[in-house]
Symmetry: D2
Subunit: 383 residues, 4 copies
């Protein structure tokens, strides 16, 4: 009987980070894929990712609403609690042999605890990395609940083993997201002209230099988001360059960042800027390949950025500690420092690609290992 | 302004394991104690621990019901989710400077995640130890969410540091439970004659040799509890020795163990056995000092047992890996092995005390360190 | 395609009150029965009703844990909230054509609101009756959410129509519980000698006069339960008659009544009394046919009691307003009044049966009507 | 000691419907106002009503997040369950003497059940009215849980009494929303020029004829929202008149209506239309006084509309049965019928005011009655 692998997808970012593994699992003759779509992956205002999943040919076994509206620290914690209750129901019904979860989000935490108490082996991708925000703690806590580990880079693998996980269960596979990046870029970097029909703000020529701003709330600096994004937007504006501005994710403090963007728009000429709530992953990858500079605190600057060679300015503490390539300039929350760093990247141009986070074949490796792996439900620290 | 330390108590065992620290915090001039009583600590059928807490002179700031009845894997997972929702409400209102949590229970997991997402520093006692059941995973996951660590023994301290926690935040203080043990035994080991008014079954002379059986469900061996306890009870019966049998805790599988006890009573003469649902902690400690042998899988055999010198037979995987003294004989779930090991302990008699889990001053140390500690909310793994 | 009828069972009492309808639905060629077992129906300490359901040949489609332990007003309210979340998941999956719910319990409220918001037509049994406690309000609120009504007695039917429900959807069918009573009594009233193996307390001869005490907490008089049961027990004791005492149900305040029973046992000779946590429904029905007097505030005194002719003393407000037969003497919470009323019933002996709550064919009628009924999801008050 | 009245506000509409009563309670020397802000009242994307409440000088005692994102039937039901859990916590802490709730929303249902199980008397405004959608059932169910009734119109009062509520507890006070309308209109109907800075779409002259479209999902016709709004928008467009289009509320199906609006904008010239997610209540009232015709299915057409004399076209079943004045033309979901009805209203012009829903003094009456009222927690149907 096929081994049942249950993948939980909680957001658009999640989906991009696991899609190639899902495909490989689905195509594997001795694995059966179960898909749970949850949290912002179900919501129109986050791009209705569940529809994409189905359009991509996957069957969703269960749709689970867990997001308590509010985007505060309190609602993030309570959403985790709701998720824990709901995922328990789902896993109890689907009875997977392994639950596969991505990274370090609150849905990940809920998924991990539910699987743990139900005695279902847990596999985690993207474990062992270092960053700022609460994600840093959650990521390692999930690792301590996981039985099979799929780190994306070498130092993450080393770190997981140091944390006391059984080396035989730690598999350096690369990040499945790079599989997707490689695939998309094979098709070229042209972006259809009608991009600007989505979003609001001015239009501009995507063949001339432009920056992309992607800045999310830092949960451990809750309350500072409006101030932080404002500095970034003012730095970008001061350079007179066209800019694509992305809306923040749904973490606690999201409303503060959003408010900063709204106020900036009210008080400034935005004819040179275009604002998007969501972008198809394929379009976002192409933008990373085209943009003169990626600005903000998205992990994509470091992960996809190193793979593609995207010049990037990384602001503040959110990505602190994450293994990175030459394409990153780190700056603090200072308008002038941000502007100077962007200027430097504009004059530098594209970087050489560095395969820190994988070679584009992570998905197949994950399916293969899941097929072969036999783990004991009873975990045991190695020291 | 006094630093607010919020202690969450989820069960009778929890309370015994933190009481001396609570007293030290309460008595510290620059600390303010907040007490949250939750889960089985509120329930009459688990001994109404909340009443004890108040009788001991503590004020309970919040009572939180989180136990979803059923004692299955599903209800344990969902209770964690409910706990996460409810503790979030409580911490958001009490606004503690530090949340102090005990060990590795599902309430602990819920407490830890709630504090983490609310950016409240977390302190954990009993971290870094090794055992069986899901507790093993939960304990280490909580450690990865905690900012201040109070391990009870040296190897637990070493392990926490190896896991990547900042050494400056890892404090070997001993187990506060030993503070309580030391204090109780100073008053002697006499047990009032009316003990047998509680519980059901036969009466016997506590000044003649008797064993104590304390065997809990092993969550990772869910479904085997009835079989496991039955072997133990048959082993004890075959020796013809008087026995005190304790009811299992509220973990998943509790009903299976309870059923085993009930069926044993229906089909066997129990005039030589007495069964208790709950015992006051003080009485339990005195029993450990008097019993000819403690049988089962309770951590108290290893922890209090080493401190007191109690001969003990530890059955199965639940305590696997926990640092232990000479007083323990480990056996598997085998009726004859259990009987032989008990016989050996009966002929051996009491062991010398070993202070593996502390010297009786853990509580004061914890209060002192909590007073002095300054930690960053943003955690960071050390490697 | 068969019409799917989903029955939600939340307790032993619930099951007895709907079992004959379940059987009729199951046997109906054009109906498909779905069974949801929930709340105390899943718990060993309330008699593991789910096992009975399966032993009776029904398939349980979903088991839903909703009871937050504590038995306080707070946990009763929160259990309703948990039930609402969980039943929503279940109904969304089972997609029944009609949800059939019993009476006025908190599970009933949760069931009704879940079905209402999911646009699933709701049928209610036992609506339109009058009683005390919060059940009075809940019963009528559920009626206002229900599309099809199965009142058990004439005045309940009249009341439902007066409340603005469409007369065509109000069907006087009798109480399905009477179907069960009729069936059981057809087999005689002998009770196996081993009854006293269950429960605790003394044994006595069931062929000599004995009373049965069944007294539940009154939620709207929360906190008074201990005092109330104590008066009853003292009244019974003063008469020197043998007594079977039943444990209270799981409503808020249950612990208070239980405490009253425990304290009474500690301070009084109970050799003439036997205490049961649960009794099989069949045994309970036979006891109603044998007992010299049923004492307390159970609705069974009024409902089954009128059908069987059981002499009964009804205490306090819990059954206030419920249509009743000649077999009932109503008294307040007064030890002497209770004792006098019992004495009167002992000398009176059995009453003539009155078919107020049905003729023993309710189940078939319910199945038949559910088959024929077509209702609009959009309800509309008639005036 | 002042009597504590706890008002729960779950949305902007809720607040407008109770604000004058809150003010009167706050100003009453023997009443103490407690305010709970919940659900969409807390969310920026629904206009951050909590901030308004505080700006208006009220203190919010508790903020309660209950909205599970998704706007489906499932999330509406589950949000009710979450609300029930959370309001229970809040009421248990605030210990109000009376809970005052508005109307028939899912927060209202959750509020009512929580208060009921906690034995706290409940007062309801807007009970006894008739409408379509699930609100019809919820409204009457809440009435059966409420102890004090504040109907807004005569037929609602009659209906509540017919439903079996104690006449002495049913007080015809009018709708507090009319108090607000009267107050706002006293200040004139000028709308500041910068209105169009909010929202998206074209600008136009508010002193020339324009219509206002306010159309919400019908929960009992879940799935039809996109089709329904599209017909309305096409009807309006065919008339070539300027239009203000309001975003739908957060009920199940909201996303469908929103999608209809978004698609309409993509495929049609919207230079003559302006779209608002939220409008300050004061602005909305002035629009009702200025617009040539209010189109859609909002209750404000009937309630405020009759008070102001606003010509209105009411579409479909949502307001079916609600007592209405001469200002309403009812039509079904038919593009031509809608267009014809609007044309008729444009040529008719404003109507005479009809005080069906109050005279502008409801708030004071409510405070006064709450002060004097003494009710028994134990409800009892009158027949």
């Amino acid at each position: 009987m096929a081994k049942k692998i249950c993948v939980v997808i909680g957001s658009r970012a999640n989906y991009g980070s696991i899609k190639s593994a899902m495909r490989a699992i689905k195509n594997h003759p001795e694995l059966e894929l179960q898909v749970v779509a949850a949290a912002s992956a179900l919501l129109d205002r986050y791009g209705a990712v569940a529809n994409l999943i189905e359009k991509d040919g996957f069957t969703i076994n269960s749709k689970v609403y867990v997001l308590l509206e509010g985007e505060t620290l309190v609602t993030m914690a309570k959403s985790t609690g709701i998720g824990l209750m709901e995922f328990t129901t789902v896993f109890d019904q689907l009875k997977p042999d392994v639950v596969l979860t991505v990274g370090d989000r609150f849905e990940t935490m809920a998924t991990a605890v539910a699987a743990a108490y139900l005695n279902i082996p847990l596999a985690q991708t993207m474990g062992g990395e270092v960053s700022g925000t609460i994600d840093e703690s959650i990521r390692h806590a999930v690792t301590k609940l996981a039985h099979i580990h799929f780190p994306a880079c070498q130092d993450a693998k080393d770190r997981i083993i140091k944390m006391g996980e059984e080396p035989a269960n730690v598999h350096l596979v690369g990040c499945p997201r790079m599989d997707l990046v490689a695939e998309v870029l094979k098709q070229g970097t042209d972006i259809a002209n009608d991009l600007f029909k989505l979003g609001v703000g001015g239009n501009f020529d995507l063949n001339k230099p432009f920056v992309v701003v992607s800045q999310h709330p830092v949960t451990t600096e809750y309350g500072d988001g409006e101030k932080q994004i404002t500095k970034t937007l003012m730095a970008v504006q001061s350079l007179g360059i066209s800019a694509i501005i992305l809306w923040p994710n749904a973490d606690a403090g999201s409303e503060h960042v959003a408010r900063g963007i709204r106020k900036f728009r009210e008080h400034n000429d935005d004819s040179n800027m275009h604002f998007f709530k969501n972008l198809p992953t394929e379009v976002y990858i192409k933008l990373l390949a085209k943009t003169a500079c990626l600005v903000g605190n998205s992990s994509s600057a470091i992960r996809e950025g190193s793979f593609i060679g995207t010049p990037a300015v990384n602001i503040g503490s959110r990505q602190q500690g994450r293994q990175r390539g030459a394409n990153i300039i780190d700056v603090d929350y200072d308008r002038n420092h941000i502007a100077d760093a962007i200027k430097h990247q504009l004059s530098h141009g594209r970087y050489n690609a560095e395969p820190i986070y994988g070679d584009g074949h992570a998905g197949e490796r994950i399916a293969d290992i899941l097929h072969k792996a036999t783990v004991s439900v009873q975990k045991r620290i190695t020291y």
